[in-house]
Symmetry: C2
Subunit: 181 residues, 2 copies
């Protein structure tokens, strides 16, 4: 994500630590796509229009950071690998929703689009920021949360379930803490 | 933030647009510091331990993007400039809070610290993600919101008020939209 080895990676501020993992545009877009069910290298590449080497580098760093895990799958005669969200990766849904709200209010797209909505799969109600359903009042877990992105399709897309495999988390090495966080 | 000119800057997805403005670690840290009242080049430099040229570049991009505005102030005999949050910049508080929550849960600091809290200045109650106060029940505006970062100080710090000056917003130029957002 950032080649600088001097960082806030291990500092006391959780915004600093989160930012050192997530503060990269492609990482945010790959997370968004993974949240919406994409798993394979070719899917990410096709959807994002990203160069192979950049995508490979970002995916590797995201696996190292514990946001994604590589899982084998059968592709004809070959065994290939796909990328599944970890619990930590899936828990970023509220961050992406906050970004979507802000982006809708404060940035202009090529076409004016209706906002992204987070909805309760069961009843179709919109979710508040704390995931309470505005229609039925239920406290909605991630497994019952879907996003509607009207510029893409009117159909709600369920959030991808995180992999059950234990997230392998490697902390960044050699990081030096600077600043007071 | 990102030197690639091919981007999602103008695409229909608000996460893509927000990510192209915010997807850079230093930008997130500068925003955090601005939110907590820092305004001057030397303050950001001292707090972040960032090189002059990198800080200058990030601040310039953040002004161009409409997150900060430059405002003159008197420094002895000299007129210098400080950086104030715009409305759009100040509206990023929920994004930073979501990052802080996630960072606290999923990343480890050098020392185990208590989480960052967003509180209601009037009564000291914690704020829910939708900014309702858990103590007095009030719907709390940004002007009554403070953050407590216990690793730094037990004292709540009020969020900086955005500048009243109209945010000058220049859209990124020369951006080509790729991907379907």
């Amino acid at each position: 994500m950032n080649d600088t080895k001097i960082g806030h990676d291990q500092g006391p501020c959780p915004i600093g630590r989160a930012g050192s993992l997530l503060g990269e545009r492609w990482v945010l877009l790959i997370l968004r796509d993974a949240m919406l069910g994409l798993r394979r290298f070719d899917e990410f590449r096709g959807h994002l229009g990203i160069a192979d080497n950049i995508l490979a580098g970002r995916l590797r760093r995201m696996v190292e950071a514990g946001l994604l895990v590589k899982t084998p799958y059968q592709d004809g005669n070959r065994i290939r690998e796909e990328y599944r969200l970890t619990e930590a990766g899936a828990d970023l849904a509220p961050v992406l929703r906050a970004l979507a709200d802000w982006g809708h209010r404060h940035t202009g797209g090529a076409e004016e689009a209706a906002p992204m909505r987070a909805v309760h799969v069961d009843c179709g109600g919109d979710l508040r920021p704390d995931n309470q359903c505005t229609r039925c009042g239920a406290k909605v877990g991630r497994e019952e949360e879907a996003w509607i992105r009207p510029w893409h399709s009117p159909a709600p897309v369920r959030l991808a379930a995180p992999t059950a495999a234990a997230a392998r988390r490697e902390s960044a090495t050699g990081a030096t803490v600077v600043g007071s966080g």
